[in-house]
Symmetry: C2
Subunit: 390 residues, 2 copies
Amino acid sequence: MREIELNSREELILEKLLELKKRSGSHSPSVNSLLEKIPEIKFKVDACFLSNPYATQLFLDYFEKEVLKGNKIREMLEYYPSQNNVIAEKLASFIGVDVENVFIGNGAIEIIQAIIHNFTKSKIIINIPTFSSYYEFVKPEVEVVYNKLLKKNDFNLDVESYIELIKKEKPDTIVLINPNNPNGGYLKGEQMFKIMKAARDVENVIVDESFIHFAYENSNYDFVSVTEFISNFPNLIIIKSMSKDFGIAGIRAGYAVMSKERSKLLLENGYLWNSNGLAEYFFKLYTQAKFAYNYQKVRIKYIIETNEFIKQIKQIKEIKVYPTMANFLLIELPEKVDLDRFTLMLLIRYGIYVRNANDKIGLEGNFIRVASRSYEENKYMIKVFKKIFN
Amino acid sequence: MREIELNSREELILEKLLELKKRSGSHSPSVNSLLEKIPEIKFKVDACFLSNPYATQLFLDYFEKEVLKGNKIREMLEYYPSQNNVIAEKLASFIGVDVENVFIGNGAIEIIQAIIHNFTKSKIIINIPTFSSYYEFVKPEVEVVYNKLLKKNDFNLDVESYIELIKKEKPDTIVLINPNNPNGGYLKGEQMFKIMKAARDVENVIVDESFIHFAYENSNYDFVSVTEFISNFPNLIIIKSMSKDFGIAGIRAGYAVMSKERSKLLLENGYLWNSNGLAEYFFKLYTQAKFAYNYQKVRIKYIIETNEFIKQIKQIKEIKVYPTMANFLLIELPEKVDLDRFTLMLLIRYGIYVRNANDKIGLEGNFIRVASRSYEENKYMIKVFKKIFN
């Protein structure tokens, strides 16, 4: 590939973009913010957004039919949604745990905040690179031990040395995102089990399964969740965003599975009406057998297409694609590439919005994260990437 | 009025209702929960729900036209909403403060929790009866001083003795709900100002103005908010639910105005994506001049009708109506009335759902809280009440 040169108009937009990014802290600015502040951008593919577009469409089809055509939108907007435990009730039987084990969140991020603020008292081990909120929410008095995932291991966690680190550091909290964000690194069910057994003395074992629906361990594409172990491992706290599987980030729906004592403590301190009417509708739908059946179909379709996307992108010799079990790829670009200019060029010339990963702690180098989107969008991205790096 | 006798079918429903209420904690079960669990109930008027139905209709008209017909619903549900400070920006200029003074909440209740958990360290004075979350969220190590509002004063706050109490107790937090819930007692702007001056040494002066849009101090129905004093009184924290003015409780929209330091501290610890796509739309709409103009019209219409409702109910000699500047009435029933049976009778025979206030701390006796609703609904309630208490 040639070096990237921007024209003066593009340089101006770059300035605006960097300013906006600065204001967004450690998360990418949303498409809405971008469109509002930089109307020059013509979006084609939002490959920053980590979701299954087919599941979004499935949800929207139901929403259109049941809520809009069924004239249910008024009551959904007007009345107080049900309280946390009422929504938890349906979900609990669907995922096979007791209602007291379930905590409904206003998006997974609220749950991360609640857990880190309420249960982490002294020391936390966080694997990096990772989703930044886990270390951002840590209170000042808590010691953070960063466990750096190594590039030479493709950013995969080394289970043995991780267990050694736990024994040595004696943290009260560890965090495992499975598959991990931003690289998609995956720990199999048996590896998770090994860690959980070794971490019996750790008070809080947080397992963030927000991307678990994109992983699988057999030819039926079944995924393995540690949710079922909650009664054997009372220190487990499973966090699940619904925005990844369904692309409904505007609704803010997430949940956690945790010991009854923890969930009780949180609910006694607030979080009473933290869901909105649409999130309540989503969870109702999610736990219906017919919907679950239809969702499983679009889930598998998306995984198969994502695998094809990965395969195609891997053919480009000039870039390195890291192993992933999630719906995104961590890509390392050649050293000579200026990341800010490259991502802007993708956006302004091709309408492709990818995550510039240069602010991720523990990820030194030229990395971008690219989400798998619809078949057509993936095809377009493959074409553009092959053209750029021909 | 005669004593209330329920038939066996009604007694059975009463049992179900009491069970449901027990599970809802210190808040009434929602209409949705009620309808789901007790399908025997035929709702006519939800007089538990403290909102201006005309404002709900106004919002829904815009929503229908702009969002549904404008095909904006997908992006609202799919994408991440803007972050806290982006939404705060528009609101700040609308209410005349700096953006750094504004904190957007997932409903006022999230803000109450955030403030009480983060800023109240040692001692809080809470006037009772009041909205229960204020004392429910207090951490165990904080001392709560309950200032009982006296029945002989019609549950109005005595400003002089309140100031004396502050000087004596030296709390780090005081809470004023203006108008107060559940009685509607109102402190004029000058009384608020007097308290604020006397409470200069109190670290956190929480003023909950969730019902302030229903109050007024002149013939133009202008209301007086203490928001404008934020730069003079850095200890002020103003909390505002939008569910009362607009009846959009399903959306979860609220905000607070506070010192820049406080808001910064909260935002550094989370609350990044605590709004949903619909709440973001609401705030955008709320701050548009044309919408504000239309809202003002339905606000005044509702106040005038509420005043008429109060006047009519006050004519019933057998009950006592307490003075109110909010959109609800605190009503004391004759001693012989069994409250649980009375409210159930209203619900099952007349479809009127009122707030049984027997669980309110500081409110001993036979109290119900009745919301003013639409003109037709108020007319119906007046008829029913006059019939019952002929």
